[in-house]
């Protein structure tokens, strides 16, 4: 095979090799926190920036895809690499958000907590490198190797605190579902090669599968990548595994790793498969909406801050898949411009989510280090103790709640615009369903605001709920730098929404043959000028101008006198911090309204209890309805098979002999 020069890919490989080198360097002095934290992680962050720049270069409109073949891998299947716009976009996402996480991690890891820092450094950078390889892999073999490396390295990172049984259990569940999903992906590639037995993606792009086989491949891909993305009902591992990991790793998993699932599905659906049936889109859209709604409702009732964020990740993945579903739907009816709009919305939301979710997970890391508490009910008032973290977390909170002028709003806006053009679909049934979808999306977005007010208000505002919180200390400079980088990303992507649209232009042109108008720095109008436009920068300028004008006028015309006094609270003088809403209290309306979504066990104190206890346990219905019977079934099957497992060597030799005979008969 002739492959032209690939400078960007070669540079990328050098960068990835640099990560491996950093990881191995960590093993030299595994217990020297200073060496690992002050030298290796910052270098890793620099490399991540390099990766982001390589990705940015691949997004340029005049750039052709680069290919490279490495003399590694199987004898007849060397590693194929390819860098096109889609890979470039995800490289940009991984590198730009990952750089912030790495800088934060440099100041985060401490000695004496589970795995040694040096070993963590190795696992962390292998994890990072494997994600990069996933998005540039151009054959099924390398893709699966990188995919499995990603799963394994993150498994070890999740179980950093492996002495805690719950964390071991969470890690096991994660590994299990990751592998069930990987089987789906593997089978999908098996179908995609279409009898040619060539496993490069180039070979898979060639043949057109029959509609039945294409559907099989698509469903397998949806299953496999959906398991990684945490789509309902394959989401159960996510709220266990993401909170169990140390915060930078949680940020990597939620912010970055979930996006490889988005990448995978886009690669299969829009690049490898040429056909598209409309109901694929409807299916993805339906699953996405259901996932989004369930995720946000569960997030609202969580009391552990990291679990809350994990459920919110499920919600956001649901929204991303919603956009992908719409794109498939539009493409099936040949509405290319609208497909481009929906696809852009999904991609930009992926990018935005990488920034704000990483930011929030890292902020919980700072809070966790400062207070030792993950339970929302024991936090409060941290805006006074750690003001910088509070400012950055506020930016993340407003962004994830989808409020203008930050970045979360931009992708929600695009997604709603995509919903708005669905009546053009020439199919009466789909036409009817889509308004319902739009309403579900609107409800999800509004609930996200509720969840984030709870998250921010309970952690950072109010009075400290525990006396020990007075000793909470602000984080170091490196942590602040990492948080600041991600917060700056949230602001930049929100105020200048054309940046995101620019980045997706080439991808949508390649995937659906059209691209929306990217707009200019002043405003975006993706479809047409008079139809819908939005300007983040002018909106922000407007708010700031009115803010400043009002402030100056009030000071000028009146005065700025302030007295400090005890809180008023309707004149009730004996208030204590315990009278504030807890996380349970704040989630109570959701529990009331969406009660049927949960399995709630409650213990209420009676009026005569001398030491009253209130306990509430909320469980996912899907766990009992699907996973417990499934587990039991597997157990029963294993028990049945165990009959032939006698434990005597002679019997096993007999089995081997019989198998041999049978094979000989079969061959002859």
């Amino acid at each position: 095979m002739i492959v032209g020069p690939a400078p960007s890919l070669s540079l990328l490989l050098a960068l990835v090799a640099g990560w491996f080198a950093l990881g191995l360097a960590g093993l030299i002095r595994p217990h020297r926190v200073h060496f690992v934290g002050r030298v290796l992680f910052p270098l890793g962050a620099l490399i991540a920036l390099g990766v982001a720049l390589v990705g940015l270069g691949a997004l340029r409109p005049d750039r052709l895809p680069e290919q490279l073949v490495l003399p590694l891998g199987l004898p007849d299947l060397p590693f194929h690499l390819r860098l096109d716009a889609l890979s470039g976009f995800f490289l940009l996402l991984l590198g730009a958000a990952g750089a912030g996480i790495s800088i934060f991690a440099a100041g985060y890891f401490r000695a004496g907590e589970g795995t040694a820092p040096g070993l963590l450094c190795l696992q962390y950078h292998v994890f990072f490198a494997s994600m990069v390889l996933v998005v540039v892999a151009n054959d099924a073999y390398l893709f699966m190797v990188a995919w499995e490396t990603m799963a394994l390295s993150s498994y070890f990172l999740v179980t950093t605190q492996h002495r805690i049984p719950e964390i071991r259990r969470a890690g096991f569940l994660y590994l299990l579902i990751a592998h069930v999903g990987a089987i789906g992906i593997l089978l999908c590639f098996g179908v995609l090669q279409g009898g040619s037995w060539k496993f490069t993606f180039d070979a898979m792009r060639g043949p057109t599968l029959s509609p039945t086989w294409a559907t099989v491949a698509f469903l397998l891909a949806l299953f496999g990548f959906g398991a990684k993305a945490g789509l309902v009902p394959l989401h159960v591992w996510l709220p266990e595994a993401h909170p169990a990991a140390p915060s930078p790793v949680s940020a990597m998993m939620s912010g970055l790793m979930l996006k490889t699932a988005v990448y995978g599905l886009l690669r299969v659906t829009f690049d490898l498969l040429h056909t598209g049936v409309w109901w694929w889109g409807a299916l993805v859209l339906g699953i996405g909406l259901f996932t989004a709604l369930l995720g946000v409702v569960f997030a609202a009732v969580q009391t552990d801050m990291k679990r809350l964020l994990a459920y919110s990740s499920i919600e956001n993945m649901g929204m991303i898949f919603c956009g992908i579903g719409l794109a498939i739907l539009f493409r099936a009816f040949d509405l290319r411009l609208f497909a481009a709009l929906a696809l852009s919305a999904a991609l930009i939301h992926s990018l935005n989510h990488a920034f704000f979710k990483s930011l929030l997970f890292l902020a919980t890391g700072s809070v966790l280090h400062a207070t030792g508490e993950r339970n929302l009910g024991k936090l409060g008032g941290l805006i006074h103790r750690m003001p910088w973290v509070a400012v950055f977390a506020l930016i993340g909170t407003l962004a994830i709640a989808g409020l203008p002028p930050l970045n979360g709003f931009v992708s929600e806006w695009l997604l709603l615009q995509a919903f708005l053009v669905t009546p053009r679909i020439p199919h009466p049934f789909v036409n009817m369903l889509v308004p319902l979808g739009a309403s579900a999306l609107a409800l999800t977005a509004a609930l996200a605001g509720y969840v984030m007010v709870k998250f921010y208000g309970v952690i950072f505002l109010g009075q400290p709920r525990e006396p020990s919180l007075v000793r909470a200390h602000p984080p170091g400079r490196l942590q602040r730098l990492g948080l600041g980088w991600l917060a700056a990303g949230c602001v930049a992507l929100g105020v200048f929404p054309h940046l995101g649209l620019r980045a997706t232009t080439e991808i949508t042109r390649g995937a659906v043959g059209e691209a929306v108008r990217p707009g200019s720095w002043a405003f975006i109008a993706p479809l047409a000028q008079g139809q819908a436009s939005y300007s983040g920068v002018l909106l922000l300028a407007g708010i700031l101008a009115v803010f400043a004008l009002t402030f100056v006028l009030v000071r000028r015309l009146y005065h700025g006198r302030v007295r400090r006094a005890a809180p008023w609270d309707c004149g009730y003088p004996w208030q204590t911090p315990r009278m504030q809403d807890t996380a349970e209290g704040f989630g109570q309306p959701i529990r009331h309204i969406f009660g049927s979504a949960f399995l709630i066990e409650r213990e209420l104190p009676s009026a005569w209890d001398t030491s009253p206890h209130y306990r509430v346990h909320i469980e996912d219905r899907i766990w009992r309805a699907l996973y417990v019977p499934l587990g039991r079934g597997v157990q029963r099957l294993a028990d049945a098979v165990a009959i032939i497992q006698g434990g005597r060597l002679a019997v096993y030799l007999l089995y081997a002999f019989l198998t041999l005979i049978a094979l000989l008969v079969f061959v002859l």
Partner: protein, 316 residues
């Protein structure tokens, strides 16, 4: 031309900020008359604002900068919303900055900020109010968005000038979907602006308050800005309703000063009528229990979705 447009834009914003407290005063007057009380003067809310601005601000000891910032943010978002909503003229130069979806986002921003400020002091009433406000908010926001979707489907655009232009275009058509949307919109308006039957703006019973519970800790100029912002919010909602459902009288593109004068007159008349109706609704209805509020808002939401289905089925 641009200078003229800027003047028109600024004039509309100033008109909105000036009229908003008077609109509130008018509703108060109507309510008083309907309840056989002697009415306060029309300018009462303005007097209240002036009094508050002159007072010394009292802050709780543990109030954070977020708490002090929030009144300005609220006021800023509401003024900006007033700059986008076509209340007098349709073609506002600022309108391209944010379409109707962004307007919903602006309202959500204000709501999130006031809820966060309510939680900032850490009192029982504050967080109770914040929780309830967010509960009302997450139910009302999708309903409002669905109301807008009805209008979007008719006009094929989310930019408010285009929507209103399409709806106000001469062959007056009665859209059945808009009837559903209109009812839903009124319900959302009542809930979002802390009016009866969801919240009582004149309540003195702490346990039933929503909006008042959140602003308990505010005083003087901060309270003045918060109250002014909520008056503006009600005004903005009213103008939105006029623009979507009774767009007659609005000054069209390139209209002269005469048309603008007519538009201002029409706005005042509409506000007068709307205030009277609002006062009537409030006099006739009792406050709902807080757990009835979701049902009320779910009904608004379903009505709006029903409007969408009607539009798609009838193709009108």
């Amino acid at each position: 031309m641009t200078a003229l447009a800027v003047i028109r834009q600024a004039g509309e914003v100033v008109l909105a900020t000036a009229l908003a407290p008077i609109f509130l005063g008018w509703i108060g007057q109507c309510r008083a008359w309907l309840q056989n009380r002697s009415a306060p003067p029309l300018l009462q809310p303005w007097r209240l604002l002036r009094k508050l601005f002159w007072k010394d601000a009292t802050l709780a000891q543990n109030a954070s900068p977020l708490f002090r910032m929030t009144p300005y943010v609220l006021f800023g978002t509401m003024v900006l919303a007033a700059a986008i909503i076509p209340s007098v003229a349709i073609d506002l130069p600022f309108a391209f900055v944010a379409d109707a979806i962004a307007l919903v986002g602006l309202f959500a921003t204000a709501r999130v900020f006031i809820s966060l400020a309510a939680m900032d002091i850490g009192t029982a009433f504050g967080s109770l109010g914040a929780r309830r406000e967010m509960m009302i908010g997450f139910l009302a926001e999708p309903a409002l968005l669905m109301v807008f979707f009805n209008a979007f489907l008719i006009s094929g655009s989310t930019a408010l000038p285009s929507v209103v232009e399409r709806l106000a275009a001469p062959p007056f058509v009665i859209y059945p979907s808009l009837a559903f949307a209109g009812v839903a919109f009124v319900m959302v308006l009542l809930a979002e602006n802390a009016r009866l039957p969801i919240d009582n703006p004149a309540t003195h019973l702490e346990l039933t308050m929503i909006h008042e519970a959140m602003v308990l800790e505010y005083s003087a100029r901060h309270l003045a800005l918060v109250e002014w912002a909520s008056a503006l919010k009600l005004f903005n909602y009213a103008c939105l309703g006029f623009a979507l459902f009774v767009p007659w009288g609005l000054a069209t593109r390139g209209a002269g000063p005469g048309a603008l004068g007519v538009a201002v007159l029409a706005l005042v008349l509409k506000l007068g009528a709307a205030g009277a109706v609002l006062a009537l609704v409030e006099t006739l209805s009792a406050k709902l229990r807080i757990f009835r509020a979701p049902e009320f808002l779910a009904m608004a939401f379903l009505l709006a979705v029903l409007g969408l289905l009607v539009h798609l089925m009838l193709g009108a």
